[in-house]
């Protein structure tokens, strides 16, 4: 049996321990009540942002009523179709990428000459080595009787505004950037996984 002093020591020790435990529980409860919802909110928002960036903020199409005159770019220069420029104006402050088709032109002795498929692929390969990402995508056109959709593969590049402004062109070619849509002007389907690494095969 303990005497009263021994018992008092133990009781006081247990009270202090219990109070610390209660404080910890209180802090944990407050964390659950206040911090967890905030954290969850931020986490959900983060997920939404990621999804927006992944699924929606890659611009694949932009409609405009403006009429445009097509200019063939000179060697070493590039030209954006009017839809692309309108989209760039709209999303200037946003963190977006544009999925664009590159048209290649070559001027020789004041005349534009056809570019062979292999040459086209070689230039894309060079741009890929510069750090640009190319993707294989499909768009569809109706058949002649307009009863069936026929899918065609093509190669598109994903560019940010900064990459567009500082495009590393080759002095041998002129470049035109444009969106591609399906025949009914609906957006094409795009998958990040379809990134192209082999440029020896022609995809179009």
């Amino acid at each position: 049996m303990k005497n009263y002093k021994e018992m008092a020591d133990e009781v006081l020790f247990r009270i202090k321990k219990e109070k610390i435990k209660r404080k910890k529980c209180l802090i944990a409860s407050l964390c659950i009540i206040f911090i967890l919802p905030v954290f969850t909110f931020l986490l959900i928002n983060q997920n939404i942002s990621d999804k927006v960036l992944e699924n929606y903020m890659i611009i694949t199409n932009y409609k405009t009523n403006l009429e445009q005159s097509y200019i063939v770019p000179k060697n070493g220069e590039y030209y954006c179709f009017i839809e692309v420029n309108e989209a760039r104006k709209k999303y200037i402050d946003k963190n977006v990428s544009y999925l664009l088709k590159i048209e290649l032109f070559k001027e020789k002795n004041g005349e534009y000459v056809d570019i062979k498929k292999e040459e086209y692929m070689q230039e894309l390969k060079r741009l890929s080595e510069e750090g640009y990402k190319f993707y294989k995508v499909y768009y569809w056109l109706y058949n002649d009787s307009k009863t069936e959709k026929i899918y065609y593969p093509t190669i598109m590049v994903k560019l940010t505004e900064e990459q567009l402004q500082n495009f590393k062109s080759n002095d041998n070619y002129g470049y035109a950037f444009r969106f591609i849509t399906n025949e009914d002007y609906s957006p094409i389907e795009f998958y990040e996984t379809n990134v192209i690494s082999n440029f020896d095969t022609y995809y179009e």
Binding site: Y4, L12, E18
Partner: protein
């Protein structure tokens, strides 16, 4: 100075207040809780739990006439919880009773109280409790009714029956109830 004054001192931050409370009520509370547990060491543990509990919460309920009534009520509730949790455990009791009795004799000192306590061991738990609170702790029937959570009338009846049982028990042991 009394228990509630010392307890108030403790609530104001003076740890010696609780030391005084323990000094004043420790033995009585342990012996009372022993009427539930029949094990003086478990009763001691429960008494410590009781003091920890009053150290953690403040006396707010005005139904308690005194600090001591409140203390014993908390002790009783803890003892009941303990018995409920351990009701399925088989605890050997033969050696324990002999050992408990020697400790109780040391605590009680008074020979008259020792004789009564021994006789009370053979009574029903409720009789033991009500006799303990009445004879040893000098609680009024009102206070006992608060601690045992029964009506005063029931306490009076319980006390009467407990006395009758104690009388028979003492006579069986060769003592006279009236002389004690």
């Amino acid at each position: 100075m009394n228990g509630s004054y010392n307890y108030y001192r403790f609530l104001q931050g003076d740890e010696n207040g609780l030391v005084e409370v323990i000094r004043e009520y420790k033995d009585g509370l342990i012996l009372y809780l022993n009427t539930f547990t029949n094990d003086i060491f478990i009763a001691e543990e429960l008494a410590m739990d009781t003091f920890v509990k009053i150290g953690m919460k403040k006396l707010k309920d005005k139904k308690y006439a005194s600090f001591k009534t409140w203390l014993y009520t908390i002790g009783k509730n803890l003892a009941i919880d303990y018995l409920r949790k351990n009701s399925k455990k088989n605890i050997p009791i033969n050696d324990k009773i002999i050992y408990n009795e020697s400790i109780l004799e040391t605590i009680l000192k008074d020979e008259r109280k020792i004789i009564i306590q021994k006789a009370m061991n053979n009574l029903k738990t409720e009789y033991k409790q009500v006799l303990w609170l009445s004879y040893f702790e000098k609680f009024s029937n009102n206070e006992i009714s608060t601690i045992m959570n029964k009506k005063v009338h029931n306490i009076e009846t319980l006390l009467y029956r407990a006395k009758q049982s104690l009388k028979k028990e003492l006579e069986r042991e060769g003592f006279s109830y009236e002389k004690l």
